[in-house]
């Protein structure tokens, strides 16, 4: 399922070649749309020619609709896409500054590269200006507005999080908003741009494209983003079989070795009730209600944490298996179940003969933190395999 860890599949060179081709497509479409010409870009701000608005918003809604359609169909994992971190106020200030630079210089960084590539001297000078501005920023930010620049960090914060609705609804609303802006924009062009017939030009294409987009938006809104059950049923058979074949059930002795080892960070989720947890729990385990695994922010943290192995600790196998299915459906890697649950753990470490004690048994305390020294040489067949994590890389960094 997309996106792919391209560097792992094709190597770093292969990954760079793909990015290079994407860049070529990007540069070529910008140039073909007229974005290499500062006059076309600047005309946007005098309502003469709204090409910038049209191209940019059409691109956004086209990509957005495809992304969320693919996500609805289970072909693309939205959690693994890089969503720009929201730094609210630095973003607004930076945006205002950029707007000023845009209308004075007639380009934005991407379009100036295209202008330079087509030998436009104003494009070249703009690029040099951008490099200078970046240089000034890099050398002064830590000593000037550093605190402000790091402020109002809201993390991965999306419109659907903010509005509290399904992403599909937001997709449809954004499409409708963009179409309304296009309509208004063409009216402005008719008034200020001396293009009285703008609205009726190429009507067939415009209306059919708009129709397809609205239809796709309605489909995305109706489908909604996939539920846990749908995600589970779409998993490959091999993944689902791990549960029925008991490949994810880990004996207490192996869990202890993972917990005390240095290869990975163990995280124990104790899904029993708080009362049971307070009576006895394994040291450093975390009590959690399995319903918490419906929270997308928590899930995203779990699935992007590097080098982490999760163990589900429960009373009964059924609830442990349900929780495992939920986490597998969300594609959280490296999740295992403590075989026999908490009772299995207690039974093993209270009853298992330990050579160092005279009667072969440790003292009567419940084993919340078994002394690894006594168990480090116990042999077992390891089942835990640490899987590499696909984490979204930084965006415009």
């Amino acid at each position: 399922m997309a996106p792919f860890a391209l560097a792992d599949i094709f190597g770093q060179t292969g990954f760079f070649i793909i990015v290079l081709l994407i860049g070529v497509g990007f540069g070529a479409t910008l140039e073909m749309s007229g974005f290499g010409d500062s006059r076309v870009l600047a005309a946007q701000f005098y309502f003469r020619d709204l090409t910038v608005l049209k191209v940019m918003f059409t691109a956004i809604i086209t990509a957005m609709t495809l992304i969320f359609l693919m996500s609805s169909l289970g072909l693309l994992d939205y959690d693994l896409l890089y969503v720009n971190t929201t730094y609210l106020f630095p973003g607004i200030v930076g945006g205002l500054v950029m707007g000023v630079g845009f209308v004075i210089g007639g380009f934005c960084p991407g379009t100036s590269l295209v202008a330079m590539a087509s030998l436009k001297l104003d494009g070249l000078l703009f690029v040099l200006g951008v490099l200078f501005g970046i240089f000034v920023f890099g050398d002064t930010i830590d000593s000037t507005f550093g605190a402000f620049w790091h402020s109002s960090n809201l993390g991965r914060f999306t419109l659907q999080d903010w509005l509290g609705v399904d992403a599909g609804i937001v997709v449809l609303l954004v499409i409708l908003m963009a179409l309304a802006m296009f309509l208004g924009g063409e009216k402005l062009e008719a008034i200020y741009g001396g293009k009285p017939k703008q609205l009726t030009r190429g009507r067939g294409f415009k209306f059919s494209a708009a129709g397809v987009l609205v239809l796709a938006g309605v489909v995305v809104a109706l489908l909604g983003q996939p539920t846990v059950e749908q995600r589970w049923s779409r998993l490959p058979e091999a993944v689902r079989a791990k549960l029925s074949d008991r490949l994810v059930f880990i004996e207490p002795i192996e869990m202890l070795h993972v917990m005390k080892g240095r290869n990975a960070k163990p995280v124990l989720f104790d899904i029993r009730s708080e009362g049971r947890y307070n009576l006895f729990h394994i040291l450093d385990s975390r009590q959690i209600n399995p319903r918490a695994f419906q929270d997308e922010a928590l899930i995203r943290d779990l699935k992007t944490a590097q080098n982490t192995i999760y163990f589900i600790v429960a009373d009964d196998e059924r609830s442990a298996a349900e929780t495992w299915k939920t986490l597998a459906a969300w594609k959280v890697p490296n999740v295992y179940i403590l075989n026999g649950g908490i009772d299995g753990w207690i039974a093993y470490f209270t009853a298992h003969p330990v050579k160092h004690y005279p009667d072969g048994k440790p003292p009567g305390l419940l084993p919340e933190d078994p002394d690894f020294y006594h168990y480090k040489d116990v042999a077992f067949t390891p089942k835990v395999k640490l899987q590499k994590v696909k984490a979204p890389a930084g965006g415009c960094g």
């Binding site: 140039e31 007229g34 939205y78 971190t85 000023v100 209308v103 934005c108 590539a117 200006g129 970046i134």
Partner: protein
Amino acid sequence: MKPSTQKAYLNPYLGGILLGLVLFISFFLTGNGLGASGGLNRFVVFIEDLFAADHVNQIPYLASMAGGTVNPLDHWIFIMIVGIIGGGSLSALLNGRFKVETRKGPRISVPTRLAMAFLGGAIMGYGARFARGCTSGQAMSGGAVLSVGSWTFMFAVFVGAYALAWFVRKLWLDERR
């Protein structure tokens, strides 16, 4: 190759759909959107690292990209810049727009235009780093995946530009208004 006559630009909606497809493919394959200023940023740090490596290592923001022996250009965002330039040249060549010239408003001279391009670029470069991304990496890419910060940023760009447009109209407009 001799430039032939200049062809017309694409219908903006068609251009937008093509650009949207490129953006989608980028997200679908790599998990990342498009970007321009990030790569330029790394280029600047690369140059700085050549001449003042100690200085780069002492400033946290710069050291995060080029501290020690790290090569700031060894990053996909810089490769994308190379692609953008290549794609831009290719399209300009094929459409007869590959020639040395300066595009400007009718009321200003070429040197004025070039000076303004540099000035605007410098402001833009500073602002783009302040906003952690430019029109491509922040507004378009973040907009398509519905980041709140990207949408507020996008409207801020338009507000900033429209607020100043009237005062600098001499740069772009003829005598019509």
